[in-house]
């Protein structure tokens, strides 16, 4: 037996190994019989409609329970609406009046309605034709007195091979028996692909009819939904390789799930917060999935860039609220607009500058354009009602700036209250520490800042006077440079002396080689890309505060970034030993 490797569309990540179960959609043969009186035929349609409604409600509940939400269960909601669509009843009714038997009438009517949709130009709309057909088949199957699906005959854990799967088929797949599925048709956005991802079922779609035609039930298969690969009759070495990958993935997934439930603690039980840096609402969902305990940095630039005009208050409100809703009661730090002449939006007149990074940017620009700044603050305060939100200003270098920006927040709040609009009050206000000025002045700034967050990318750039975009000096951009580490320590010590907490939302916070040092300095919050969270939580749990302090002290005693890197490599290697 020779192995055959097939390539399709990677629809849902995951590896499955097992025998094939070739599923052919049961043929629904329309009987040849003499039509009864129209009212009898019509009554049969109505009772089939009623049973279909019950089945759809059952499927809806089943999927909602398995996907912890209504989002995908809504597919069956839509099916129910199609079932009850007046167009369907009209078409079936008039065909029956013409002396056509109900089975034929349902088949023809749904086919006509499906082709109305299938002929539409937009792919998204055309894809709904499959839903109409699914509904039609359901009613016809009920009329023929057949059970819900032939997939019921699946008895051993198998990989399902099919021409295509309807959403109804996919939803009915028993996770204990269906290891995954591969289809000849379908695309990434088909309901089945979406459902597979939600149910965590590996799937490869669009393999092509000819590739699957020769396959037989019971043939050994290996499928990788992450790369869209299907191997038929795999040799032993392929099986071994995929078993290892599968195990590795499972372990990683377990680690992620475990960390999502646990709070980050040092080995001696001190709580530190591990949060996520996010932008849009999708990234908020990802943050929750990876176990973020909050958001340490919500960037707002995406709202302004790639637009033709500045987003108005309501638009911003809607987007912020959607993100806050995803995070629930977890703390969210939202940073006000941080743009400059290096990347100006098309609708904002930015002057040509010699040094955009030292120029009119971030809070400096916002303070000069009060309407723009206040619009954002109003949207934030409104969306923050009922949530745990904090506001953070970028690029602050002095107390006067901070007082002035806080004043604008107070004004925005007063305006909203006067207008009777619900909004959050007494929202904590903090600043990014990304300039040496802010680091050195942290005790002064603590007079008006409720918290601090170290932006290490810019802090490194400004402390070392190195443009990280410039290839010639990129090698000098060293976040573990002793000068940068001292800036960070100065900030943390200064803020703690004033009773204020300090977080970090720069890349350093998620770096394994930096985390022990930062822990030793007493950093209160680590905010990073969501995907780094599980490993960061894990690493934090391996260090006692005492040990972290020793590591930090040792690192700070070294003279160069290279020495610090080497030392940290040794510390991390020692953990695995």
């Amino acid at each position: 037996m020779t192995a055959r490797e097939l390539k399709g569309i990677a629809a849902s990540d995951g590896i499955a190994i097992g025998p094939a179960f070739c599923y052919a959609v049961p043929l629904l043969t329309i009987p040849t019989r003499t039509p009864e009186q129209p009212n009898v035929e019509l009554a049969r349609f109505q009772s089939a409609q009623e049973q279909a409604r019950m089945e759809l409600k059952g499927l809806r509940e089943n999927v909602a329970a398995r996907t912890r939400g209504d989002e995908f269960a809504a597919i069956f909601d839509a099916h129910e609406m199609m079932l009850d669509d007046p167009m369907l009843a009209d078409k079936v009714g008039s065909k029956i009046q013409q002396g056509i038997i109900v089975e034929q009438a349902v088949a023809d009517a749904t086919q006509e309605l499906a082709s109305l949709l299938a002929n539409m130009e937009d792919e998204l709309f055309a894809a709904r034709a499959a839903d109409v057909q699914d509904v039609g088949r359901r009613v016809l199957r009920i009329l023929l007195g057949l059970p819900d699906t032939a997939l019921n005959s699946l008895q051993n854990p198998s990989i399902i091979i099919a021409q295509d799967l309807t959403p109804s088929d996919t939803a009915r797949l028993d996770p204990a028996l269906a290891l995954g599925f591969c289809t000849a048709l379908g695309g990434l956005t088909s309901h089945s692909a979406i459902l597979a991802r939600t149910l965590g079922l590996p799937a490869v779609v669009g393999l092509g009819a000819s590739a699957l035609a020769s396959m037989k039930s019971g043939q050994m298969l290996v499928m990788d939904g992450g790369s869209g690969t299907l191997v038929v009759d795999p040799p032993e070495e392929t099986l071994t390789r995929y078993r290892a990958i599968k195990r590795e993935k499972e372990i990683r997934l377990e680690a992620i799930k475990a960390s999502a439930r646990t709070e980050a603690c040092t080995a001696n039980g001190r709580r530190v917060e591990v949060a996520a840096n996010i932008g849009e609402v999708e990234t908020a969902r990802e943050a929750v999935e990876f176990g973020a305990e909050g958001v340490g940095l919500l960037r707002t630039e995406f709202l302004y860039l790639n637009e033709t005009r500045a987003p108005d208050e309501n638009k911003q409100y809607g987007i912020y609220k959607a993100i806050f809703d995803v995070m629930g009661q977890r703390p969210v730090i939202i940073r006000t607009l941080d743009i400059g002449g290096d990347k100006p939006p098309s609708y904002m007149p930015f002057p040509q500058e010699m040094n955009p990074f030292l120029g009119w940017r971030a809070i400096r620009m916002c303070m000069d354009d009060t309407p723009l700044f206040k619009t954002q603050l109003r949207a934030i305060l409104r969306a923050a009602a009922g949530h745990n939100v904090r506001i953070m200003f970028p690029m602050i270098i002095g107390l006067d700036e901070l007082m002035c920006a806080r004043g604008t927040v107070a004004q925005a709040e007063a305006e909203l209250r006067e207008a009777g609009l619900p909004c959050a009050v007494n929202v904590p206000v903090g600043i990014m520490v990304e300039t040496p000025a802010a680091a050195v002045l942290v005790d002064v700034l603590a007079e008006a800042a409720d918290f601090f967050s170290l932006g290490t990318n810019d802090l490194t750039q400004y402390t070392l006077a190195v443009d990280r975009g410039n290839e010639k000096v990129a090698g000098l951009f060293q976040p573990l440079h002793p000068a940068v580490l001292r800036m960070i320590k100065m900030t943390i010590d200064g803020a703690h002396r004033k009773g204020k907490w300090v977080g970090m939302c720069g890349e350093l916070a998620g770096m394994q080689k930096a985390i022990p040092i930062l822990l030793g300095m007493g950093l209160d919050e680590f905010s990073m890309a969501s995907r780094s969270i599980p490993l960061a939580k894990n690493l934090i749990g391996k260090f006692s505060d005492e040990r972290a302090r020793q590591v930090c002290e040792q690192a700070l005693s070294l003279a160069t970034a290279q020495e610090i890197e080497d030392y940290m490599k040794g510390v991390l290697a020692g953990l695995d030993a």
């Binding site: 937009d122 998204l124 709309f125 709904r128 809607g318 959607a322």
Partner: protein
């Protein structure tokens, strides 16, 4: 008879959840309600039929005309208009 124009701002247009909500809302009224896609210029269709509403192919920023005729025509157009204007409750 009452009719009114609205712009659909929702990013998926009258599709998926917005289309479902729209048709469900329309079905709450006894009036005959039709909807037309003014941007593409298609013929008006029954607002109570999900399949018909989908065939309009209303996408983001398309303008639609809602027409109602019957006992509750005024509230019907108002309620459907509110739904569209509220961006289908997604603000």
């Amino acid at each position: 008879m009452i009719e009114s124009k609205f712009t659909v701002t929702h990013k998926v247009g009258l599709h998926a959840r917005p289309a479902s909500l729209f048709v469900k809302q329309a079905n709450k009224f006894t009036s005959r309600i039709s909807v037309r896609n003014l941007t593409s210029g298609e013929e008006p269709v029954d607002a109570k039929s999900i399949i018909s509403v989908l065939t309009l192919g209303v996408m983001q920023n398309h303008e639609i005309l809602i027409t109602a005729e019957g006992a509750d025509e005024e509230v019907a157009v108002q309620a459907l208009g509110e739904l569209v204007k509220s961006n289908f409750g997604e603000a």
